[in-house]
């Protein structure tokens, strides 16, 4: 059963230096406040897993928390580059960043395999691409029935999976709706999981299109209103597209970035 904790406790007790941590949320419901807490607690040497590393990953990388990034699309959606990510890859600042790079379909299936308790998943993909050559977590596999060659992707089971959701009840059952991405798979694949929520309510009245994650599949739940901003939480607040555009300027320069982090996160 999930324990209800503060965000500070949740991150502090469930994460340790060197861990693999997934932060999932596909454009919607990105666990920003949890990422900020990781930065505030100055975790180091993390392997961060995220299909779409965006602002929160840029901040984690620029703050020196990240040793390795496992990802499939690292950009500022609709805006352009992630400058802290680029600076780390291109110039090793604040230190060199290892990467394990996939397609969305591939990384998604790594989470699916992890959630399924399997060591790998099978897919059509990678063949003929450069991705196939630069990762150790993709391998050929042959269909025992047809002889067709496909690709296996290695399961991912993060030490900690973090997502943000709209609501939980007092027992720690979680409800999210709208675009739900690979969040369920991330939680299920995690050895531990932390869900930040907009609020805790008496009862989770059913919603069309909702996903319920029962409390017995979750390690801890923390209330964090606005925990997704500048991403959005359907039913609570909208995406702050202007901030995504502003981030391009804030993040472009190392000093501007550090000073913004100091003023707004630390």
């Amino acid at each position: 059963m999930a324990e209800i904790v503060s965000l500070q406790e949740g991150i502090g007790s469930l994460l340790k230096n060197g861990d693999t941590v997934a932060l999932e949320g596909f454009t919607h419901l990105i666990p920003m406040s949890a990422g900020h807490e990781i930065i505030r607690q100055r975790f180091e040497e993390l392997t961060v897993v995220r299909l779409t590393p965006d602002l929160i990953s840029d901040q984690l990388i620029g703050s020196g928390c990240v040793k390795k990034l496992v990802f499939s699309w690292g950009g500022n959606p609709g805006v352009g580059s992630l400058h802290r990510f680029r600076d780390a890859v291109e110039h090793g600042w604040p230190h060199p960043l290892e990467i394990d790079e996939h397609s969305h379909a591939g990384l998604t299936n790594r989470f699916v395999a992890g959630a399924s308790g399997l060591p790998f998943a099978v897919m059509r993909g990678y063949r003929g691409t450069g991705l196939d050559m630069f990762t150790a977590t993709v391998a050929p596999i042959t269909c025992p029935f047809t002889g067709e060659e496909l690709r296996a992707v290695a399961a991912i089971n993060p030490d900690l999976s973090v997502i943000h959701a709209q609501r939980a009840d007092r027992n720690g059952n979680v409800q999210l709706w709208g675009i739900t991405g690979v969040q369920k798979e991330a939680v299920l694949a995690g050895r531990k999981s932390l869900v930040t929520v907009e609020e805790i309510v008496e009862e989770l009245d059913p919603r069309p299109g909702d996903v319920i994650i029962p409390t017995w599949l979750i390690t801890a739940v923390a209330v964090s209103p606005g925990g997704s901003r500048p991403s959005y939480a359907a039913g609570y607040y909208q995406r702050d597209n202007d901030f995504y555009i502003a981030w391009d300027t804030i993040s472009r320069d190392r000093e501007t970035f550090l000073s913004w982090m100091k003023d707004n996160v630390l």
Binding site: F26, V89, I179, A234
Partner: protein, 253 residues
């Protein structure tokens, strides 16, 4: 017709792409240029185009251009929303998508695409965002349409990195790699339209946009560009097309 006399090459590119889409096509939309063209088609001749975004929104009907592939309006106007595993495993992979609609940073003569790095992979001069959904959109959609602006920086002789396979090294390569879809049937740029030669699979300039010189297209291509025997000129944008694209863009502000 003054409107139609003054338009940008980007507008022409979006309009030419929008014309390729029609009602009831199931179209997997990349963000940026493809999203703009698809939403333009919906405002013009294809209100029943079925737009799929990789965020899991099926049949989204946004009134303004989304900034990201997961904007709230895509979710609110969708027929249904499915998980990301479902989008890739149940809809894209088995070939249920009619048209995969992609952008890229670079393309080669066989319509292979790069959106990963410029330079060496391990020490890139420019680190691009990476693959996202593109490799599987390119391999599994029934047909693929690519949009990108034409220059020697984007139309290159040798890609530093193949993110998404077009026709590989030429005829037979898609089959050899087990890629199920037909691959890129059309590349639409700000200068014209290129299509793969049915034998060699090399991209050939088949349409040139109005008021563009063939030399300009050749100079903007990083390989010796082949020109179709019967090079056609793209129909100029109509007033209603220009109206539609301009109101779409201003609604997106």
């Amino acid at each position: 017709m003054e409107l139609a006399d003054t338009y940008t090459s980007d507008e022409m590119m979006s309009i030419a792409a929008a014309r390729q889409l029609s009602n009831n096509q199931i179209c997997f939309i990349g963000i940026g240029l493809p999203s703009k063209a698809a939403n333009l088609a919906r405002r013009l001749h294809a209100p029943d185009l079925i737009m799929i975004y990789e965020s899991g929104t099926l049949g989204a009907k946004p009134t303004k251009l989304p900034l990201s592939i997961g904007d709230g309006e895509l979710a609110e106007t969708a027929d249904t929303i499915v998980s990301v595993p479902e989008i890739f495993n149940y809809l894209l992979q088995p070939g249920k998508i009619d048209i995969g609609f992609l952008g890229a940073a670079q393309i080669d003569r066989y319509a292979n695409l790069n959106s990963t790095v410029i330079g060496d992979y391990n020490k890139p001069s420019v680190r691009l965002p990476g693959a996202g959904g593109a490799p599987e959109i390119a391999s599994s959609s029934k047909r693929v349409i690519v949009m990108l602006r034409q220059s020697t920086k984007s139309f290159v002789d040798t890609l530093p990195f193949v993110t998404s396979v077009g026709f590989g090294a030429g005829p037979g390569d898609r089959e050899k790699l087990g890629l199920k879809g037909a691959g890129p049937v059309m590349v639409i740029t700000d200068l014209g339209v290129l299509e793969p030669d049915s034998d060699t699979r090399e991209l050939v300039l088949t349409h040139i946009h109005p008021n563009i010189a063939v030399e300009k297209v050749i100079e903007s291509t990083g390989w010796k560009l082949r020109i179709a025997n019967q090079l056609k000129v793209t129909e100029s944008p109509t007033a209603s097309e220009l109206d539609a694209i301009r109101s779409l863009v201003s609604a997106g502000k």
